[in-house]
């Protein structure tokens, strides 16, 4: 009898262990926060990296956990960016929401970006569900191209290819204006990224997250144990779109600008590559990948832009052919090799 109880205790512990904070995670966030003091001259770049990381994190939710290959996450990023930019542009001096929240409030802009991106994500998710990987690629890419065309063509709304000027977000929490040194922007991006990360972490470690991982591994079996597979995929696709929308909104607010470039194919492709660099399915892959990607870009792109694209292509080929699971995958394999498992974990 006591034997069974021991089994149960062990099983509960091993299930809950998946979601427990470990010291490398704490260290990661501590280092990220301390960069504010360590490299005060690069705060703008760091904010941009965190925003890219959040976009890559949103792809991780659909690709790394639910197994949907997407080439169009930039669509939601762009929608979030334009929504927040328009709110900041036209909200300046307009009547405040509920009498006290200015329409151009940054946090309200994030909510707006998330909602618009989420609505489009929800609407298009039904197309994404249909068919094979190929149709998914086509639909996600197609949606992104449509949004890009709209950003270019709806000149009266978006400013066309010149982009949207005069984006003036209100001070953060009514107190702090986005400054030239990017101090407020860094803290803003850091806090929002951390909060969104916590949400994502909670999602993937919950029963809902388990069901996504199950669908990725075997959707036939998932269906035959009674799981509403399509509803789960719609949900995660919509949530991921909202994440991307928040990232886009943050970029528009901190750079006080929105342009079709924020929706362009390279935005979706870069974010996907960032995730693959870092490793999909770990949540941290996008964040680690964003750092490496931007450092590489600064180094190689400094020589010539073509040079950067060429080596990016080469790195991709090498990654696919020789390195499984990105940087975090390498680290995990290394850990398993040098510190063999002690039973669970």
């Amino acid at each position: 009898m006591s034997d069974i109880d021991a089994d149960k205790v062990r099983a509960r512990a091993s299930l809950l262990a998946e979601g427990r904070w470990r010291w490398p995670e704490v260290l990661f966030w501590a280092v990220a926060a301390s960069l504010f003091f360590l490299v005060p001259t690069k705060l703008t770049l760091l904010s941009e990296i965190m925003i890219l990381g959040l976009l890559a994190l949103s792809i991780d939710l659909v690709l790394g956990f639910a197994g949907i290959v997407t080439l169009g996450q930039g669509a939601f990023f762009g929608l979030g960016a334009y929504t927040a930019a328009l709110m900041a542009k036209h909200g300046y001096g307009a009547a405040p929401l509920l009498g006290f929240i200015p329409i151009n409030d940054p946090l309200l802009g994030l909510v707006g970006g998330a909602i618009v991106a989420g609505i489009v994500g929800f609407a298009t998710s039904f197309l994404v569900l249909r068919g094979s990987d190929l149709t998914r690629l086509m639909v996600t890419l197609g949606v992104a191209l449509i949004v890009e065309e709209l950003a270019n063509k709806l000149k009266w709304l978006t400013g066309g290819s010149d982009g949207l000027q005069g984006v003036l977000p209100a001070p953060l929490l009514g107190k702090w204006d986005f400054d030239l040194y990017g101090q407020v922007a860094f803290i803003y991006a850091f806090v929002i990224l951390f909060v969104m990360f916590l949400v994502a972490r909670q999602l993937v470690n919950s029963q809902f997250g388990m069901s996504l991982k199950a669908i990725k591994q075997n959707s036939l079996r998932s269906r035959t144990i009674g799981m509403p597979v399509n509803a789960r995929l719609v949900t995660v696709y919509t949530i991921a779109a909202m994440f991307a929308g928040v990232a886009g909104a943050m970029l528009a607010q901190t750079t006080q600008f929105a342009s079709p470039d924020m929706v362009a194919f390279h935005r979706s492709a870069d974010a996907l590559l960032i995730l693959i660099f870092g490793g999909a399915g770990y949540l941290y892959g996008g964040l680690v990948g964003a750092v490496v990607f931007r450092v590489m870009q600064d180094f190689l792109g400094g020589i010539t832009p073509q040079y950067w694209q060429f080596w990016l292509g080469v790195v991709l080929l090498l990654l696919v052919l020789f390195v499984r699971g990105g940087i975090l995958g390498l680290l995990r394999n290394g850990r398993d090799k040098f510190f063999p498992k002690s039973g669970k974990d």
Binding site: L63, V69, G131, E149, L154, Q309, G313
Partner: protein, 300 residues
């Protein structure tokens, strides 16, 4: 009206020649090669180089592009693609995006970022009157060449020994292997021919498609739509899908400001529909026939 239809058909047939290789390789190996357009670009740039720099006749450029891209395809297939067949679709996508980036960067570096203009031979310039419609001679030439290629392909597929083996392999690779058909070799040959056709299409299309380093990305969505709408089990499916897409696109561009009166009515400046027709088509097809418009039965 007839002229637009004609232009649309020319564009569609060109699209078919460009994309057919992708359809067959996808059906055969379930391999998603997004970099297919890079071969077309190679064909286009080869033509530009030979024609504009060395004065080679346009008519000779076409077979040259065909052969060059065929060899390029065969080499890349044996050295790189072959390692990817048993990998996931995600890996294939990443791999081919990597190839696209490399090709774009190389072409940009070697040839510059600007769009390339080809001086077509005088015999292909000008227009002629057919049935009251004004028809570009060059587009007629494109239709004739692509038409002949299509008939040739259909014949090769249905009548030759290689064709029947290929069809068997597409139908069910495992069974075909069991029957002693060397699917891997068939795939290599098909890949090379598909790349060659793409190269030829790229060369042929230098006067219709805009040729610059972003070519593989710009036309990627079109190829994907052709494959998704037309399916991978036949070549007639992609053929009709291409024509439909070509005609729709040309019509859309021609009637670009069809929404203008409506926009005036509601007081908003509506965008031209030209850039959106193919996407509208894509969405409609997905809603009506998720398995593709010209796909028989269940898809994989």
């Amino acid at each position: 009206m007839l002229t637009i239809l004609f232009d649309g058909v020319a564009y569609g047939m060109l699209l078919f020649v460009l994309a057919v290789g992708l359809c067959v390789t996808l059906g055969l190996m379930n391999f998603i090669n997004l970099a297919h357009g890079a071969f077309a670009m190679a064909g286009g740039y080869l033509t530009v180089l030979l024609l504009n720099r060395y004065g080679v006749s346009f008519y000779l450029c076409l077979p040259a592009a065909f052969i060059f891209c065929g060899i390029l395809g065969a080499v890349l297939e044996r050295t790189l693609y072959v390692r990817l067949y048993d990998k996931s679709h995600l890996d294939q996508v990443l791999f081919s995006i990597g190839l696209i980036f490399i090709s774009i960067a190389s072409v940009d570096y070697l040839m510059g970022a600007s769009q390339q203009i080809v001086n077509l031979p005088s015999g292909l310039q000008g227009r002629m009157e057919v049935l009251g419609a004004s028809i570009g001679v060059y587009r007629l030439f494109v239709i004739v060449i692509c038409g002949l290629l299509t008939i040739g392909l259909q014949y090769a597929l249905s009548k030759t020994r290689f064709g029947s083996r290929l069809r068997a392999a597409v139908d069910d690779g495992r069974v075909a292997r069991g029957m002693g058909i060397d699917v891997t070799r068939i795939f290599s040959v098909t890949f090379a021919i598909g790349s060659a056709l793409a190269g030829l299409g790229g060369a042929l299309g230098t006067g219709i498609l805009s040729l610059d380093p972003s070519f593989p990305l710009k036309y990627m969505i079109l190829f994907l739509i052709v494959v998704a709408v037309g399916g991978t089990s036949t070549i007639t499916g992609p053929f009709f899908a291409s024509i439909l897409l070509g005609v729709a696109d040309v019509f859309g561009k021609y009637y670009d400001n069809i929404l203008e009166p409506l926009g005036k009515l509601i007081g908003v400046e509506l965008p031209g529909i030209g850039a959106f027709t193919i996407y509208i088509l894509m969405v409609v097809v997905l809603i009506v026939r998720p398995q593709g418009l010209f796909v028989r039965g269940a898809s994989r």
